[in-house]
Amino acid sequence: MADLLFLYTSIATLFGIYAILALSFNLEYGYAGQANLGKVFFFSIGAYVAGVLVVHSVAALTGYAGDLFSAQAANARLLYAAGNPAAILSLFVGALVLAGFVGAGFGILASYPALRLRGDFLAIVLIAVGEAGRVFVRVYTPLAGGNIGIGGVPSPFVFLGDREARVAFSLLVLALAFLAFVFVSRLSNSPFGRLLKSVRDDELAASVLGKRAPWVKAQVLAVGSGLAAIAGVLWAFWFQTVAADDFIPQTTFLVVAMVLLGGSGNHRGVLVGAITMTLLDHFTRPSFYAILGIQADLPFDINYLRYILIGLMIILILMFRPQGLFPERPVRTKALEVARAASGQAHADPPAAQAPPPT
C-alpha cells in the first residue's frame, strides 16, 4: 500500500507555498504592473532567514560549538526539536515574522531599479539580482553552508510524531495561504488596490492626481517580497533543508506561469493556476511515481518534462488567452453599488448597470 498521506500532504503544502508566492506576484504584477522576475530571490531570503535563525539559535541553546552545517549538527537540531516543542515553535513563528520584515526591506531596495527602468529591463535586472544572490550564498560558506546548504531544519510539529507533523504542517500552510489570500484580496479591493491599478495603467495620470507612484511601487514590492519571504520560511521548514540550488530562476517562471494561467489581476484565478501547476509539478517528479509504486521507466530524466510543460504553458497562454483563465474583473466597491442603485431609481436607466465603472 502506497503511503498516499505523504502525497496528499506534499500537494497541500506545496500548493500553499506556491499560492502565497503566486498571490504576491499577482499583487506586484497583476495589480501594480511591476514584473518582479526576481521572485525566487525574495523567496530564498525567507528560506535563508529561517535556516540561519534555526541553526544559530539551536546552537546557542544547546551550546553546540562544532561545524554548524555538518550532518551531526543537523541531527542534533532534529533531536533538540523533538524534545523542546516550545522552543522550535517559537523559532518558527519568529522566523515567519523576521522573514516578513527582511523580505519587505529587500523589496523596498528592489523598488529603486523599479523606479528607473521599464518593465522588461526591470525584469532582466531582477533576474540578474536573483542569480547573483544564489551564486553568493552558494559560495559564501559562513552564512549558510555554501554549496552543501543547511540541513536539519526541524519541522515545528516534530514532537507530534512524523506523520502527524506532516499533516499539521500542511494544514498550517494551507491556513496561512488562505490568510494570504484574504489579505491580498482585501488589500487589492481597497483604495490602495485601486491606486495600484492606476499606477499600472497610467503612471503619469496617477501622479498628476497627486499620487506618489514611486512610493506606491516601493510599498507593493515590500508587501509582495515580504509574502514571498514568508513562503520561503515555510519551504525551509517543510523540506527541512535550505540549498542554494533550490532557488533557480525556473521557480520564478513556475510562479509566472501560475499567474498567467489563472489570470493576472484575479486572485481566485491565481489560486486555480497555483493548484494546476502544483499538480503538474508533482506529476513530473520521480518521487510521485515512487510513492504510487509505479515503475516509470522513461529513458530520460522525467524532471525535464516538467520544464517543457511549464514553457509550453507560458507560450500557449500568452498566445491564446493572455488574460488568463479568469480575466481581471472591473473594480466593484460599495460606493459604486450605491451610486448605481441611486441612478437606477432616479432615472430608471438599466443600461447604466452595464456601463464601465469609473476608475
Partner: protein, 335 residues
C-alpha cells in the same frame, strides 16, 4: 605580481565569444524589440550541433560550424514564426514577449536535454582539440582556438558592418529599428527583413556555441549560464548598438578574466564568485547609465572626465535630498 598572461588570452577568447553571442541578441532586440531570453538556447543548440557533427558523425570544424549555423538559425526562425511574430501582431507588451521568450527557452532547453540524455551526451566535449601554438607559461597557451574565434568574430563584425551599410536588407533592419511603421510604408519588406534578422542572430549564436563546445565541455545549461554574460555585454553596449556591443563583449570578457584573477590574487576572493561579476555589471549599468556605451564619443568622455568632480558633488547632494524626501515620505505617506 599577478600572472596576467592567462587572463589576457582568456579575455581575448571569451570576449570574442561573448561578442558573437551578444551581437545576435542586440540585433534581434534592435529590430524586433524582444529581449530574447531564448538566445541562450540558440547557443546551446549550436554547441550540441558541433558535438554531434564532430563526435557522432566524425566531421571537421567547417561542417560542424555549418550545421550549427543552420540548426540554430532554423530554431530561431521557427521560434519567431510560431511564437514571437503572432504575439507581436496582436500587440503583446515587451514584457509579455520577454516572458514568452523564457517559455520558448525552457521548451528548447529541456527538449534538448531529453535528446542529450537519450544519446548520453549530457556533458560532452567536442573531440576537436585546440592545438597549442605558443606556450607563454603555465595556463597561458596560445592555441588555435585563440586564433579561430577572434577571426570568426572579426569577420562576422565586418560582415555585419557591410550588411548594415551596403545592402538593402541591412538598411531595412536599421529602418525597422528606428521606426517600424515608417519602414513598412516606405516599402521595406519587413517580414523578410525580420526573418533575415532571426537567421543571422541564430546563426551567430550557433557558431559561438560550436566554438564553446571546443573550448569547454558542453551541457544543456551552457547557453543559460552564458546568457547573463551575453546580456551584460549587450546592455553595456546600450542594447541597440552593434558597435557598442562589440566593446561590451570584450569589456565583459576582460572583466571576467582579469577581475577574478586580480580579486583572487590580491584579496583572496574565491574564483567561484566569477559569475557574480557579470550580474553586478548588468545591475550597475542599468542603474547608472542605461544607454551603456552607445552614443559615447571621445570628446564626450573627455568632457565627462573634466566635469566629473562637480557633477559627482551635485549628484551626491541630489541623492541626499532624495533620501530625505523618501524618509519624510515614509513618515508621512499621505502628505
Amino acid at each position: 605580481m599577478v600572472e596576467l598572461g592567462g587572463p589576457l588570452l582568456d579575455s581575448l577568447l571569451l570576449g570574442s565569444l561573448y561578442t558573437m553571442m551578444a551581437l545576435g541578441l542586440t540585433i534581434t532586440y534592435k529590430v524586433t524589440r524582444i529581449p530574447n531570453f531564448s538566445h541562450a538556447e540558440l547557443v546551446t543548440v549550436g554547441s550540441y550541433a558541433g558535438v554531434v557533427a564532430v563526435n557522432l558523425w566524425g566531421r571537421g570544424l567547417g561542417e560542424a560550424l555549418l550545421l550549427a549555423f543552420v540548426s540554430s538559425a532554423a530554431i530561431a526562425l521557427a521560434a519567431d514564426e510560431l511564437v514571437f511574430k503572432p504575439l507581436f501582431r496582436r500587440g503583446a507588451t515587451p514584457l509579455h514577449l520577454l516572458v514568452a521568450s523564457i517559455g520558448v527557452g525552457l521548451v528548447v532547453r529541456y527538449v534538448l536535454s531529453i535528446f542529450a540524455n537519450l544519446y548520453s551526451i549530457l556533458s560532452a566535449k567536442s573531440n576537436l582539440l585546440a592545438q597549442t601554438l605558443v606556450a607563454f607559461g603555465p595556463g597561458a597557451n596560445l592555441t588555435t582556438l585563440h586564433v579561430w574565434v577572434p577571426a570568426a568574430t572579426l569577420s562576422s563584425v565586418v560582415a555585419l558592418h557591410l550588411l548594415f551599410t551596403r545592402t538593402r536588407i541591412g538598411k531595412g533592419m536599421r529602418a525597422m529599428a528606428s521606426n517600424l511603421d515608417l519602414a513598412r510604408v516606405s516599402g521595406i519588406r519587413t517580414v523578410r527583413v525580420r526573418r533575415m534578422t532571426w537567421i543571422l542572430a541564430g546563426g551567430l549564436a550557433g557558431i559561438a556555441g560550436t566554438f564553446w563546445s571546443v573550448y569547454a565541455p558542453t551541457d544543456p545549461e551552457i547557453g543559460w549560464r552564458a546568457l547573463l554574460w551575453t546580456f551584460a555585454a549587450s546592455i553595456l553596449g546600450g542594447f541597440v548598438s552593434v558597435y557598442g556591443t562589440i566593446a561590451g563583449g570584450y569589456v565583459v570578457g576582460a572583466s571576467e578574466s582579469f577581475g577574478i584573477t586580480i580579486l583572487n590574487a590580491e584579496f583572496g576572493i574565491s574564483a567561484s564568485y566569477k559569475p557574480m561579476i557579470a550580474l553586478v555589471l548588468i545591475v550597475v549599468v542599468f542603474l547608472i547609465r542605461p544607454t551603456g556605451f552607445a552614443g559615447l564619443t571621445v570628446r564626450g568622455v573627455l568632457d565627462g572626465m573634466r566635469t566629473f568632480p562637480t557633477r559627482a558633488a551635485a549628484r551626491w547632494r541630489a541623492l541626499g535630498a532624495r533620501l530625505s524626501g523618501f524618509l519624510s515620505g515614509m513618515r508621512n505617506p499621505r502628505e
